[in-house]
């Protein structure tokens, strides 16, 4: 029942002939580059150079931070002149740019002194070295998302991959960067695909390419017939229809598998890579060249010489535009990316970033302003073209009226924002804009709801902690009282160290306290259950690995609250028991939970020898359980590291620190208890 096609789609004018007839050329070496530290998905890179420092081409200038990140390398030879906030292209900003920390390097436009890493033969190099190389060379997905390739290459730790797809569909009009990449370097792209296929454990490579790129197809065919690899490679030519290059659409088209909603292609055993990424990966390994340049399409009617340029990262866009012969008087719109999903730029003074595949300098005739929006007549043209089988007209209706719950019910978050619906809308409604706004509002609301929830949980934790402290204080008071009474009524007990028998107890309010005892025992059981539930929820969340770390923190708080409640109940129970059995001087029983046990042990200075011995024993147990908890936390940390999961890692680290603290406290308490015990021994056996 596998369906090898996606529904809908459109066929806008391709306009690729503008830029795909000129051969790929090398852009002139820029005299100054601006390198943003956020050219990838994940944590920004951290600068490792200082202003004034001389750097060579390929030298690392900012290193990766955290699990998902990529380093940045100097793309020219020169000296660092500034590390400061600069405007960079950014899709989410209203004007297509935002501020980000950048490293500015100035050279003289001629010197190009390379610092390469040692070349590796990927066939004879181990996986971990290859991944290490990909990580240190800053390769990220060049198709647009900018996901660090090294992280993607480790996918087999959590998923079984059988198919590597080379996404060469390049379905958006105007863009020809992948086309030219394949025409110029077909062998290298294939070799890169074979290398990444080995890393992810894929059994086959599928190259998905639209039939509007005959030269690239011919180049691939020639290369394929000339090489033999251990992994079968299949060239799959698909009909030109936007958005066949959408990751999910191409996966369905080539394999008949559907990527689950909010899931990844890896969930169905598929990994997608852009040809440019494969080329960069191979160069990083084979030539030791870090990612300092990319192929970018310069096109649009406002350019005299449109084409594709191999360009150093960080080159100002206006330099590229002048290479391509910009006629400024004709320029009306500057689009980074394609005309369907790209975003307009406010200025041409921005730097070229790793994810920029196309720059369109459009004229007013080419991209006329959008006609005025008219009412939706629900004609259904959008539904016909939607590649995700959504009901765009309903989503528009709900987004406009801010009925966000209904928009979510109609799967707003499965919209890939391809823009096919807005393209065909006869009422000229900017549908995608409505969807983006609605998604943004929903995300904001969720974030705020989570924040409020977290605040509530923190408050509850504080209340519980105070209640626990109060209960323990009360318990200690009761214990002292009982002790005093016991020592008054039976002074010889101190020497014989015989625990009192219940029959000694004065029979006061026995019924009341029995009822109270029962109630507290029930409360204790409930509190224990709450702790177990919280523990389970936390364990599940940290296994899932999809929760933001803030959620895990919140679950930790909830767990701590439950534990505080349990301790408070146990303290009260102990107090009551000590009332009914005055000689039992152990006010707070140790709990099974690691945090509860040692910290709450009050040091009972006036204990008998027997009590002291008992205390020593108990504290030994506490130390042992704390040790066990610590070991468990260590193991969790290891597995989190192995799974390469940020959220779980943070949680595990926290847990480890906490258990370590507990262990130390437990040890200290044990030492104390041992000291008292030996003191008692000294005094009691003269």
């Amino acid at each position: 029942m596998a369906d090898f096609d996606f529904p809908g789609g459109i066929m806008p004018p391709e306009r690729k002939a503008l830029s795909n007839r000129a051969p790929l050329i090398e852009a002139p070496l820029p005299a100054r580059v601006v390198l943003p530290l956020t050219q990838h998905v994940g944590q920004p890179a951290e600068p490792v150079v200082t202003v004034g420092q001389t750097v060579r081409t390929g030298e690392i200038v900012a290193c990766a931070q955290g699990m998902i990140s990529a380093p940045v390398h100097a793309s020219i030879t020169g000296s660092v002149t500034a590390i400061e906030e600069r405007a960079v292209p950014h899709p989410s900003a209203a004007v297509g740019e935002s501020k980000a920390l950048c490293i500015v390097i100035e050279g003289n436009g001629q010197d190009d002194d390379w610092l390469r890493m040692p070349p590796l033969d990927w066939r004879s190099t181990g996986d971990e070295f290859l991944i290490e190389r990909l990580q240190s060379s800053g390769v990220v997905g060049l198709g647009g998302a900018g996901f660090p390739t090294a992280v993607k290459a480790q996918v087999r730790r959590r998923h079984t991959i059988d198919t590597l797809i080379v996404n060469a569909a390049e379905c958006e009009p105007y863009i020809t960067a992948d086309d030219l990449t394949l025409r110029t370097h077909p062998g290298d792209v294939l070799e890169g695909a074979r290398m990444l296929a080995r890393l992810c454990g894929a059994e086959r490579i599928l190259i998905g390419i639209e039939d509007n790129k005959p030269e690239a197809i011919a180049a691939l065919r020639r290369t394929l017939s000339g090489t033999v690899g251990d992994i079968p490679v299949e060239l799959k030519i698909v009909a030109t229809r936007y958005p066949s290059g959408g990751e999910r659409q191409l996966v369905q088209k080539l394999t008949g598998r559907e990527v689950p909603s909010r899931g990844l292609p890896a969930d169905v055993g598929v990994l997608c890579h852009n040809p440019g990424t494969l080329l960069a990966s191979l160069r990083a390994v084979r030539d030791g060249e870090p990612m300092i340049s990319r192929i970018v399409t310069l096109t649009g009617e406002a350019l005299a010489r449109p084409g594709n340029l191999q360009t150093r990262l960080g080159t100002p866009l206006h330099e590229l535009l002048s290479v391509a012969g910009l006629r400024p008087e004709r320029l009306s719109q500057l689009i980074l990316g394609g005309p369907m999903m790209g975003f307009t730029l406010d200025s041409d003074a921005l730097p070229l970033v790793k994810t920029a595949n196309c720059l369109i300098a459009g004229t007013a005739d080419e991209f006329p302003p959008a006609p005025a929006e008219q009412p939706c007549i629900r004609c259904g043209a959008c539904e016909t073209v939607c590649p995700a089988s959504l009901l765009p007209q309903q989503l528009y209706w709900f987004s406009k009226s801010r009925e966000h719950d209904k928009a979510e019910l109609f799967n707003l978050f499965d919209c890939i924002e391809c823009g096919a619906c807005a393209y065909v809308c006869p009422s000229h409604i900017p549908l995608v804009q409505y969807y983006r706004a609605a998604k943004g509002e929903i995300r904001l609301r969720e974030r705020e709801a989570r924040k409020a929830e977290h605040a509530r949980h923190r408050f509850e934790f504080r209340q519980a902690r105070m209640a626990r402290e109060e209960a323990e204080k009360e318990a200690r008071r009761q214990a002292r009282l009982a002790q005093a009474k016991a020592s008054r009524s039976a002074p010889e007990q101190r020497k014989t160290a015989v625990p009192s028998v219940p029959s000694d107890t004065p029979q006061r309010d026995s019924q009341d306290s029995a009822a109270e005892l029962k109630k507290l025992k029930i409360a204790q059981a409930a509190a224990k259950a709450a702790v177990r539930k919280a523990e389970k929820a936390l364990a599940r969340a940290s296994e899932g690995g999809q929760h933001p770390s803030a959620d895990l923190d919140d679950l930790e708080t909830q767990l701590a609250t439950a534990r505080e409640n349990l301790q408070a109940t146990e303290a009260r129970l102990a107090a009551l028991q000590s009332q009914t059995t005055p000689a039992a001087t152990q006010p707070v029983p140790t709990t099974k939970t690691e945090s509860a046990a040692p910290a709450s042990q009050p040091s009972s200075t006036g204990a008998t020898t027997g009590d002291a011995a008992k205390q020593v024993r108990q504290r030994k147990i506490a130390v042992a359980s704390a040790q066990a908890a610590y070991r468990k936390a260590e193991k969790a940390l290891e597995s989190a590291m192995a799974q390469n999961d940020d959220a779980a890692l943070a949680a595990a680290q926290q847990k480890l620190e906490r258990t370590q603290g507990n262990l130390e406290r437990a040890r200290k308490a044990l030492e104390e208890a041992e000291a008292t015990a030996s003191e008692h021994k000294d005094t009691s056996t003269p």
């Binding site: 559907e258 320029l331 200025s347 004609c379 007209q393 719950d405 209904k406 109609f410 009422s427 995608v432």
Partner: protein
């Protein structure tokens, strides 16, 4: 440098609401011309006056609502409503009746609900249903098929006088519709006996059939231009034919043939031009199938058992009521989901509930 800003996508297909409506108007031409050809000049007068009233009323209401006139008037939607209501009326109705119908359609059914795109009911059919209930005599006086220029044909001047309400049509000029005549044939009369008695003015059946085929031609144009999808016409006519066949198979002496039901009334016109009004129809493709089937079924329930001989207007309006319900239960299965969502699921916000 001043560069233009826009949200993606930056290109769009050359299409517009006005163009969509324009194609609908164009597709009504065969139907209008053939109806005029058979039933006289009155049809044309009705249609032109209703269309003009559509524009005038739309402009008036837009002024009252303080909305810009130009763009809305240019979308041609009031024109479509006027034409569709105009051609649904008998040839002899006076102008004020058309005006009442158009006020109900444009002012009440369309603008009181918020204008284009907001109306839950088909405006033309709201106008038609109101007229049918309020002025049953005028609305059931159909013209006999005397043509435009024949010996019995009504001269344009006479037609104008009827239109202005100066004279009432003579009995010789009028005739029942085939559906009406068949409905009132009486219980005792068998269908075969009824047809043998020449119950209608000569040529009536052929005229209705040819007009229906002309509407079909217009509908094919709409399909070919992708103004409408096949779902509603096919499911509507399919259901209608199926139910009619079943009835005819059970009792051929009292129920009409399926072909009579398809071609003897407004079924084809309704299936391609009325039920396909996108604003008031069901949204998803699957929903449209149910919507069309519902209309077809209701037509076949009302025609033999209801008080009115033809039932397209009532069936469409009744199914308009059901559209929100249909929309919630016929969502397509979205990519990446195991199954389609159905109905409305309210998310429980319970404190005791564990967060997923």
């Amino acid at each position: 440098m001043s560069l233009m800003h826009a949200s993606s996508p930056h290109t769009r297909a050359a299409t517009s609401t006005a163009r969509v409506m324009g194609w609908v108007l164009l597709a009504t031409l065969p139907g209008i011309l053939s109806a005029t050809f058979y039933f006289g000049w009155g049809v044309l007068f009705n249609m032109l006056f209703a269309a003009a009233m559509g524009i005038v009323l739309e402009a008036g209401v837009l002024r009252l609502r303080q909305r810009p006139l130009g763009m809305t008037l240019r979308d041609n939607s009031a024109l479509v409503t006027g034409v569709l209501l105009g051609v649904s009326l008998p040839a002899f109705v006076p102008w004020w009746l058309i005006l009442v119908g158009m006020v109900a359609a444009i002012v009440v059914a369309k603008h009181l609900f918020g204008g284009l795109g907001q109306n839950p009911f088909n405006p033309a059919m709201v106008g038609y249903a109101l007229l049918l209930i309020a002025f049953p005599v005028d609305m059931t006086q159909w013209a006999a098929p005397h043509g435009l220029f024949g010996p019995d044909a009504i001269a344009p001047g006479d037609a104008l006088r009827h239109f202005l309400g100066l004279t009432d049509p003579a009995d010789a000029m009028t005739g029942a519709t085939p559906l009406d005549a068949f409905k009132h044939k009486g219980e005792t009369l068998l269908a075969s006996e009824f047809w043998a008695s020449d119950p209608l003015p000569p040529g009536t059946l052929e005229a209705w059939r040819n007009v229906a085929l002309a509407w079909l031609a217009g509908g094919v144009v709409l399909l070919a231009k992708r103004i409408i999808t096949w779902h509603i016409p096919v499911s509507l006519l399919g259901t209608l034919a199926l139910v009619a066949t079943a009835m005819y198979a059970i009792d051929p002496s009292h129920f009409a043939t399926p072909l009579f039901h398809l071609l003897g009334g407004a079924a084809i016109f309704g299936a391609f031009f009325i039920a396909t009004d996108p604003v008031s129809a069901a949204t998803s493709r699957r929903g449209k199938l149910w919507y069309g089937a519902g209309i077809g079924l209701l037509i076949m329930v009302i025609r033999p058992t209801g008080a009115y001989p033809d039932a397209v207007a009532f069936a469409v309006l009744l199914m308009n009521f059901a559209v929100p319900f249909i929309d919630y239960y016929t969502q397509p299965r979205t990519y990446g989901h195991a199954r389609a969502n159905r109905g409305i699921q309210v998310r429980q916000l319970d404190d005791d509930e564990e967060l997923p």
